[in-house]
Structure formats: structure tokens, C-alpha cells
């Protein structure tokens, strides 16, 4: 008897929710605004860009060319060079930065550390600087007679100044150093906040069992931070694939096209050369495909096997 009553009341309750159209409608209206705005300013332009990517021509003289832009991608050496550079940046820079950010966050999470706030601010501060401003400063730091060369020469590490911007290898290094400097602090903040949620007693127990600091780091910290590491690597991947400001301002894509990124190539196609917006949007869709591809790989590598 009691159970049937209970069932009945549950049923009534659920029916009560079902027959509250007004409540639902008000909810929908609230999200309607953002839905419309997102459609208008995100999906509509995306759709237009997709349509644009099937056309080609100078400026406004666009003609429908079907998939030609996409086949052109594979035979365009400049695009392939940009793709290669971007992948190099991403393969070297993202892991390097993630590891560095992890190290900093664990070090700063140390309870015995003094002036914690100062260090945190110092490491996070680059993330609030303007992309262009810091790029220009890096350009001067690494100029032929810049402070980096001066220091290295005064320390007798090198005998002749390194021509950072004129050497394909060093130019890539400068870009990697620059973006790492800019974004380590940003990623570190995520790890720091995640570390606050890791129960101290776990470490205590580990120490009781005689785990070394390294073991604690690899067996406790890393697994606990796994979702955050996944999140930061995906956002960093996306950021690196869209890299633009730094190569644009520090090296201008040079020497040759040694530091040209895909985003910069899109810029060149649209504004530097005779504009071909159709082909430029085909290139931008190549970035979309790559971001999806790399994100899926990262999910597969790091995600739970469910």
C-alpha cells in the first residue's frame, strides 16, 4: 500500500514537471538570445566561409570552383611548408610548455615556499601582456646585436653573434621560446588550482609508505591532474595551430618561410598578395580539420577507456 502511494506521488511529481510548458518556455527564451547571437556571429560566418572555400578568384571576382581549392592545398609548397612549421611548433612547444607548467605549479604548491604570491604573479604576468608588445620586445632581445647575443658573447658561450632571425633553425627556436614564455604561466594557473583540490592526506599516506618525491609526482600528482592536463594540451594545441602574432611580429615568417604558420599564410593570401579569399578560407578549414584531428587523438591518448 505504502509503496504504491509512493509510486503514485513520484508519478504525479514527474507529471507535474512534464506539464509545465511555461517554465520551459521561459527557459528557452533566456537561452534564445545567446542561441541567436551565436548562430548569427559564429555559425553563419562559418557557413559563409565554407561556401567561400569552394570559390576562387582575385578579390570580388569569385568563381565557383568546387573542390579545386582543397586539391590545390596538397600541391601548394608554401602551404605544406606552413603546415610543417606549425606541426613542428606544436610537437615541440606544447609538451615542453606543459611539462614546464607542471613543474612550476608543483614547485609553487610547496607549503614551505616563501613569497609564493610573488613567484606566482611573476610567472603568470607574461600571460597578461599584449601579444604584439611582447613579440616586438622578443624581436629586440634576439636581434643581431641584442641583449641575448651580448650576454652570450660576454659569457664566452659563443664567439660570434647568432643571427637569430636569419637562420631557419634559430628563428624557430626564438618563436618557441617566445610562446613558451608567454603561455607557461597561463597553463600553470590551471594546474595550481587543480592541485588545491588534491587531498593532502594522499601525499601523507604516500610518504608513510616511503614514496619518493618523484614517485609522488608521477604516481599521484599526474594522475590526479589528468583531466586538466588534457584540457590544457587541447587548448594549447588549438592555440599553437592558430599561431599568428608571434611569427608575424618577430620573424615575419622568415627567413624564407622557415617560421611561416598556417594562420600567417591565410593573412598573406588575403592581404599581402592579390587577395584570394576563397583559397584563404579553404586553408582556414584545413586548420579546423587539424584541430579536430589532434583533439581526437589527445582524447584517445589521455581519456578514460570507456
Amino acid at each position: 500500500m505504502e509503496t504504491t502511494n509512493l509510486n503514485k506521488s513520484i508519478k504525479q511529481k514527474s507529471e507535474k514537471y512534464k506539464f509545465k510548458p511555461k517554465k520551459g518556455l521561459i527557459g528557452w527564451i533566456f537561452i534564445l538570445i545567446s542561441v541567436i547571437l551565436i548562430c548569427l556571429f559564429y555559425f553563419y560566418p562559418m557557413l559563409q566561409a565554407l561556401l567561400l572555400s569552394f570559390q576562387s578568384g582575385a578579390g570580388v571576382n569569385l568563381q565557383f570552383v568546387g573542390l579545386e581549392n582543397y586539391t590545390r592545398l596538397f600541391s601548394d609548397p608554401t602551404f605544406l611548408a606552413a603546415l610543417f612549421n606549425t606541426v613542428i611548433f606544436f610537437l615541440i612547444q606544447v609538451p615542453f610548455m606543459i611539462i614546464l607548467a607542471l613543474m612550476f605549479s608543483v614547485m609553487l604548491n610547496n607549503k614551505k615556499l616563501k613569497f609564493k604570491g610573488l613567484f606566482r604573479t611573476a610567472i603568470f604576468l607574461p600571460a597578461v601582456t599584449s601579444l604584439v608588445a611582447y613579440s616586438v620586445i622578443f624581436k629586440y632581445l634576439f636581434s643581431n646585436n641584442g641583449i641575448i647575443n651580448t650576454i652570450l658573447m660576454n659569457l664566452s658561450i659563443i664567439s660570434e653573434p647568432i643571427l637569430w632571425m636569419s637562420d631557419p633553425f634559430w628563428a624557430k627556436i626564438v618563436i618557441i621560446l617566445a610562446i613558451t614564455w608567454r603561455w607557461v604561466g597561463y597553463n600553470m594557473i590551471f594546474y595550481l588550482s587543480a592541485l588545491q583540490n588534491v587531498d593532502e592526506s594522499i601525499y601523507e599516506a604516500a610518504r608513510m609508505d616511503g614514496a619518493s618525491a618523484f614517485q609522488q609526482f608521477f604516481k599521484i600528482t599526474i594522475p590526479m591532474l589528468k583531466p586538466i592536463i588534457l584540457f590544457t594540451s587541447i587548448t594549447s594545441t588549438i592555440g599553437t595551430l592558430q599561431l599568428f602574432d608571434e611569427p608575424m611580429n618577430i620573424t615575419g615568417g622568415g627567413p624564407g618561410n622557415a617560421t611561416l604558420t598556417i594562420s600567417q599564410y591565410i593573412y598573406d593570401l588575403s592581404f599581402e598578395y592579390t587577395p584570394d579569399f576563397g583559397y584563404a578560407s579553404a586553408v582556414s578549414f584545413a586548420i579546423v580539420v587539424m584541430i579536430v584531428f589532434f583533439s581526437i587523438i589527445q582524447f584517445k591518448l589521455a581519456g578514460d577507456k570507456k
Binding site: L32, A58, R72, D76, T78, N257, T274
Partner: protein, 432 residues
Amino acid sequence: MKKRLLLLASLITILFIAACSSGDSDEANGTSNGNDEDGITVWAWDPKFNIKALEIAEESYKAENPDFELNVIENAQDDIVQKLNTSLSSGTTKGLPNIVLIEDYRVKSFLEAYPDSFHEVTGSIDVNDFTPYKVAATSIDDKNYGVPFDTGATGLYVRTDYLEEAGYTTEDLQDIDWNEYIEIGKKVKEVTGKHLITNDHNDFGIIRVLIQSAGSWYTEDDGVTINIADNEALKAAFEVYKNLVEADLMAVHSDWNQLLEAVNSGSVASLPTGNWFTPSIKAEESQSGNWAVVPIPSLPGVEGATHASNLGGSSWYVLNIDGKEEAVDFLTSTFGSNVEFYQELVKEMGAIGTYIPAMEAGAYEISDEYFGGQEIYNDFTKWSGEIPEVNYGLHTYAIDDILIVSMQEYLNGGDLDKVLENAQKQAETQIK
């Protein structure tokens, strides 16, 4: 289900209304887009040169038309290019200026890409009054679109004191080719330890100067057919470049400021560049009297090689929007026909135009103490008349970028013919 339909319907209605209303406001603003009747807007870059010239032009025009108002908006050249591209491709004329300054290398791509956006000035100016190479750069199929402005006539700026130390005078630099100049450079380097020139491997200006001095360009005369693999002038220019690098005569800079520093600090003995570089040289007062300008060396072994070429230089273009008549009138009565105005230009700021009557009127016969009393403006105008005429075509900068990579391959030991063949193929696939 019904609810969803309702939602969808309302969504579409709102979108529709939004679209309409945005259209309305465009139209409403279209008529009052900042170009009201008594004001002409101009986009230009470089306050010390182009904008100063505009100010002088405004003053001169105002003497006749006291109500005239000129709004000069200063932007970096890159920004102007970008803004023009976005505005013109979107089809809205809102916020566009009446007059815009465009570099000669780049203008054909604008005229071709946005055919109806520029106002023709054919007939408003007398093309015979301007140096032919400049008219070629600003016209398509005998239709003139630009009012020519400054010349990019090139010269070789040299440090006479360094040359003297090595036992040379400017007389030795007249009528030589690059191979001879490289020999001189080796001697100068030996004696003074200074590099002969400085260059940015990412800036192909010097190659463009060299090939135009022999009447050649990246493209054939039609401006479209790629002319790289069988281009003798380009080959010779590549060889000269490599010789300069291998003899360690070329210092390397990577941006404009480093270039200025190299020149003003006296760490290079010479620089082949456009005459607009004069103010930058003169900025270093302590070197007064130590500089001279000679014609650039010619390309060795190339038919039709001359000692005159062009680097940069730009012209004024009128956009096809309200106020175009007034804009054309302003340009033609200053840049297009006024000798006194050109005299003012050279006196005030050392800017050399391409207006022949001004050259003939002796506007440029001014000796410059900084250059040891040399009449450099006169020399530049003389050379300006000798610049071989080429069609810059649509793709200068796109091909530039391809060739910059080719140059790296060539410097690293690649075979020149093969390198240029590859560049030709790449340019053909990339440029459509």
C-alpha cells in the same frame, strides 16, 4: 514538437528582422559616411614623407579653394592594405576614404581584384607629363587610375671617406657593373673592415632593383605570365647576390630599425636603395660630407642592363564613391599640374616627384652640403627618366616570397637553374 516549430519560427523571424534592420542602417549611414561635401578623406602612411606632401598640397590647393578641407588619416601601409581589402571585398563603401595612397608594386592587384571600386582619372591628367615607367605602373590597358606621386628612382649611397681610405673616388663608381663593384668592395672591406652593403634576406627589394635595371620583371609584359626560369636578368641578380654573400660583403639586418642603425652607425660602406632613403641618411648629422650618391652598378652580362632602377614609390588613387570629382580636382591641381608645388616639395622635404615639367623647370637643381655639394635631387630625376618600364603585374609580393625561399636554397649550394625552375613551377601552381 509544436513548441519547437514555434521556436524555430520565432528564431527565423528575429534573424530576418535583424538582417533587414542591419541593411537599413547601412543604407542610412551610406550617404553620410564621413565624406561630407566639403571634406576629402585621405589614407596614407609615413608622416615625414607622404603625409607631409599632402599637407603641402592642401595648403597650395586652399589658396584657390578656401573652403576646402582635407582629412588625412595616417595608417601604416600594411593596415591600409588590409582595411582596403576588407572594405572593398565586403562591398560596403562605408568608412572608405576618397583618396588612398597605394604602392606601385601592389596597385595592379587592387585594380584587378576590385574593378569597379576605383575611379578612372584618364583625361584628368596628361600622361605625357609623367615619367613613362610611372604611368605604366598606374594604368591598366591605357586607362589611368592613379595620379603618380614620388619616384622610387634608385641610387647607390656611398661613404666617400671609406672609399678614399681604400684608394677610390666616386669617379671609379661611374658606369661599372656589379662584378667590378664587388672587387672594389673587397678592397674596401680589407682596408676599413666595413661591409659593402647591408640587406635583409627576407626583403627582396634589392633583387627587384637589379632586375628592373635590366628591364625585366618576375612576370612578362602581360603582368601574368610567370618569367622566372628563363629570366637572364633574374639569374644574374641571383649570382650577384650570392657573390656578395660569399665574399662576406653583405651585412645582415632583419628590420627597418636595424637597417637605419647599420647605415647611421657607419658599419656599411654603401647602400643601393630608393631616393626616399635620403632623409634617413641625413638623420645622422655627424656624417655630413661623407656621403655621395652614384648610379647603381649594372647587371653584368645582361642585355639591356642600365644604371637606373626603381624601388618602391607610390601613387594616389581615387575611390569610386561620393566626392570623387572633388578628390580628382584636388589631385590634378596639385600633384597633377602644379610646378610650384613640386618645387615646394623638394625644398621642404626632399621629395622627388615624377612630373616632367617640374624637372624641366629646374626645381631640383639644389646642391646638398650633406652630400658634399652634390645636386642629388637633380641626379635622381635624371636617373628617374632612364628607368626601364616594366609591368609590375598582379603578383609581385607572392612571387617575392617564393623567390626568397629559392634564394636560401641557392645560397645553400643549390643549382641556380634548378632552383629557378622549381620556383617557376611553384609560382605557376600557386598563382591563378
